[in-house]
């Protein structure tokens, strides 16, 4: 199966994972899921993803801690967060840590099409690290 982008979804609610996976798989994404922060971090360390979508409130390692680990371990991925009602402070903390998009459950723009368009934008971003690799390749071509 061919795909354009690779997405990781971390959420402790299986039903949420199922929905997102199904929706994005129809649209040129390869989707991996994780039910806990630990499981998600492990996948991030082993595989390359364009985007990781993280639920902030989870038992065990929280969403914020996942983002902190991504920063600390310099994992090259764009991150978006999902929050429920009333988790505004947590979301702001996450954005300050480097999350690029905040997807709030239960708001008007929270439909799947909107989520899709935002994730596509994030997936198309070329992270700084990748940009560096790209430049290296270009330079090598020039040399050759």
């Amino acid at each position: 199966m061919s795909y354009k982008y690779k997405l990781l979804v971390i959420d402790d609610e299986q039903a949420v994972l199922t929905e997102i996976k199904q929706y994005f798989e129809k649209r040129d994404f390869l989707v991996e899921t994780a039910l806990t922060g630990e499981e998600g971090l492990e996948k991030l360390r082993q595989q390359m993803f364009e985007v990781v979508l993280i639920d902030l409130v989870m038992p065990g390692i929280s969403g914020i801690e996942v983002i902190r680990a991504i920063n600390d371990e310099s994992i090259s991925v764009s991150s978006a967060i999902i929050t429920g009602h009333g988790d505004k402070d947590e979301a702001i903390a996450a954005l300050q840590l480097g999350a690029e998009y905040w997807f709030q459950k239960g708001t008007e723009e929270a439909g799947m099409p909107n989520l899709y368009s935002q994730i596509i934008k994030l997936a198309q971003l070329i992270p700084e690290e990748k940009l560096g690799d790209f430049m290296d390749i270009l330079n090598q071509k020039d040399v050759a």
Partner: protein, 653 residues
């Protein structure tokens, strides 16, 4: 018998007798009484002097009686009586005199039954020797009617007094001192009955006779005047009442000196009249200045001084100076108990007054004790129909009503508080519920909006995708409705119904319903250590839920801002109890806060009213259990809730 029988102490004896007579004349009755006792002791213990000895003992009794020392009077009379009754040649008339006097003393002591006994003995002798219509016989009959008056048997008192009066009028043409005494007594009794018009008629008659026979300035005239003053006061003729009392007082003061004990009751009455006119200051000055002379003369011991003190107590009560009032009542009570004994009706009334004071102060327990003692005394010493008994019954009833009312108010207040506290819970629960409700709603939104997006992009295949989609939506709405019905059950749950409850299940349910999401948000680690054997209790699930919500919310507050956020929930089962513990890693309760931990309105939290732990304790109590605080291993607070274990029901057997 005195002149020719010189015994060895004759000179000393003569001196003592002289001293006794002198003191008696000056109204120093106690001194006189003691002198007569001395005299009786100086007389040799031989047969020939015994009658004389008995005579002096009777005189001592008479003087003790006058001095208000009724107990010694009784003793002296009894000793005298004992001697006279054992003489070879009994002087029955002398005996009857002493019997009669002893009856009077016992009446003064408030021992009315004993008093009646001696009056009846005297009556028997007098009827036999003197006939039924002799003045002395009538005097004893009259005394019996006075006892009935004191006992509150007013009707009986009146009927016997009337028959005495009839005989006296026949004999003396209505003009003797004896008649005036009977008229005086009738006036007193009708006064006590509240029949003031009749009372006034009898009193006026006695007054007229006495004035005519004795002149306007006699002691007996003064006594009739005083009663007249009382009656006038009762019917509202205040000025005339004061005039009468003052005249009565002046006569006695003139004749007996300003410190004679019998003046005290006049002063008391005058004080009472001023008091009723709201001239409290005047009344107090009057009573304090005058009656305390007597108090000092009698070493604080005359029963009449007790009446003064009691009246002063009542005055200060009216002035709302309750502390002073109580002091005076207590002083009066001390004298009263000492002199008249604990069973005297006046002692009962004093206790009643002290009870009223405690009642006003709101010391209901004290009031109850005073009223109970007063009631015991009054019901024993006076007829149920006696005004004192009616008053104490009324007071007792008032107190009981007040206590019942307070109890009801307390319950109502508690219920109202509980209601408001539950509203706070419901508010907290609603906030916590919102987190849980958001999840299924978010999922439904995702399912629906995803399908919409698929339709727009022509990616939706109804044949394979529609059914699972609808099933997923139904599943999520079912999840929602379970939550809502649990919530509703809690908010409207019947608090009286008892069912079999497995604490493990109940705790898990409430935890899942309310605490999973908030705890996650705060990154609180919950450690559940549930008992393997199901901890079963026969109890009310909503009440236990309320305790859990309160304690789990407190625990959350306690750890929220701490570096380590841990909450332990344990359940356990023992031989005859089950329960659960909730511990946290917060700061715990300080030693200073500990004694007030379960006291309402002492919350350290900013929200709520500080009623949570108070109601936890009340609920635990209601469920037949307990709640205890302990210092948790995690460093914070620990609460242990103990409930009765479910008994195996043997109803069928």
């Amino acid at each position: 018998m005195k002149a020719n029988n010189l015994h060895k102490n004759q000179r000393l004896y003569n001196k003592v007798i002289k001293k006794a007579k002198n003191k008696e004349k000056k109204g120093f009755y106690k001194g006189a009484a003691l002198a007569y006792i001395d005299a009786s002791r100086l007389i040799p213990q031989t047969q020939e002097y015994l009658e004389e000895k008995a005579f002096h003992l009777a005189k001592a009794g008479c003087n003790f009686d006058e001095s208000g020392d009724y107990n010694h009077a009784k003793k002296a009379y009894k000793e005298s009586l004992h001697i006279m009754e054992n003489l070879p040649s009994k002087n029955l008339l002398l005996i009857s005199n002493t019997l009669n006097n002893l009856g009077v003393v016992l009446g003064n002591l408030g021992d009315y039954d004993e008093s009646d006994k001696y009056y009846n003995q005297a009556l028997m002798i007098r009827e036999k020797l003197l006939g039924t219509k002799h003045p002395d016989t009538l005097q004893t009959l009259n005394n019996l009617s006075v006892t009935d008056y004191y006992k509150g048997n007013y009707d009986k008192s009146i009927s016997s007094a009337l028959s005495v009066l009839k005989e006296q009028q026949k004999k003396f043409n209505g003009d003797s001192l004896e008649t005036s005494l009977t008229l005086y007594n009738l006036g007193n009794t009708y006064f006590a009955l509240g029949q003031y018009k009749t009372a006034l008629e009898y009193t006026e008659n006695s007054l007229l006779i006495r004035k005519r026979l004795l002149g306007p300035k006699d002691v007996l005239v003064s006594e009739s005047l005083s009663i007249k003053g009382n009656i006038l006061f009762a019917i509202g003729n205040i000025n005339l009442a004061i005039e009468c009392q003052k005249e009565a007082l002046a006569i006695k003061e003139n004749l007996l000196g300003h410190d004679h004990p019998s003046l005290v009751s006049y002063l008391n009455t005058l004080g009472g009249i001023y008091q009723s006119q709201n001239k409290l200051e005047e009344s107090i000055t009057f009573l304090s200045a005058r009656s305390f002379d007597f108090k000092n003369n009698f070493n604080n011991e005359h029963p009449h001084a007790a009446v003064s003190l009691m009246n002063l107590g009542t005055l200060y009560k009216a002035k709302n100076e309750l502390k002073k009032s109580e002091e005076y009542y207590q002083q009066a009570l001390k004298i009263q108990k000492n002199k008249l004994g604990s069973d005297h009706p006046y002692t009962g009334m004093l206790l009643n007054n002290l009870g009223e004071l405690a009642f006003i102060k709101g010391n209901n327990n004290d009031a109850e004790q005073y009223f109970a003692s007063a009631r015991k005394i009054l019901s024993k010493s006076l007829q149920p129909s006696h005004p004192y008994n009616k008053e104490i019954e009324k007071n007792y009833e008032n107190l009981q009503n007040k206590v019942a009312h307070l109890e009801r108010e307390k319950l109502e207040k508690r219920a109202a508080l509980h209601k408001s506290e539950r509203l706070v819970y419901l508010g907290q629960m609603a906030t916590m519920m919102a987190h849980n409700i958001n999840n299924p709603i978010g999922i439904i939104r995702m399912i629906a909006s995803g399908a919409l997006g698929d339709l727009n992009d022509n990616l939706f295949n109804p044949e394979t995708e529609l059914k699972p989609l609808l099933e997923k939506i139904v599943l999520q709405t079912e999840r929602l409705s379970v939550m809502m019905s649990n919530f509703r059950k809690f908010s409207r749950g019947d608090r009286k119904q008892l069912v079999s409850i497995n604490l493990n299940d109940l705790i898990e349910d409430i935890y899942q319903l309310l605490f999973v999401a908030p705890y996650q948000i705060d990154h609180i680690i919950t450690i559940k250590q549930f008992s393997k054997a199901p901890p079963l209790t026969h109890s009310n699930e909503f009440a236990i839920q309320e305790m859990l919500i309160s304690l789990l919310s407190n625990a959350r507050e306690a750890v929220k801002d701490k570096p380590i956020k841990k909450i332990v929930i344990q359940t356990w089962q023992q031989k005859d109890s089950v329960g659960f513990n909730i511990e946290d890693s917060g700061s715990g309760i300080s030693k200073e806060q500990l004694p007030q931990l379960f006291t309402p309105f002492l919350s350290s939290k900013s929200e709520g009213m500080g009623l949570g732990l108070y109601f936890c304790r009340e609920i635990a109590k209601d469920l037949g259990g307990t709640i205890e605080y302990y210092s948790a291993n995690l460093g914070g607070a620990g609460f242990k809730i103990t409930l009765p274990i479910e008994q195996e029901t043997n109803d069928e057997l």
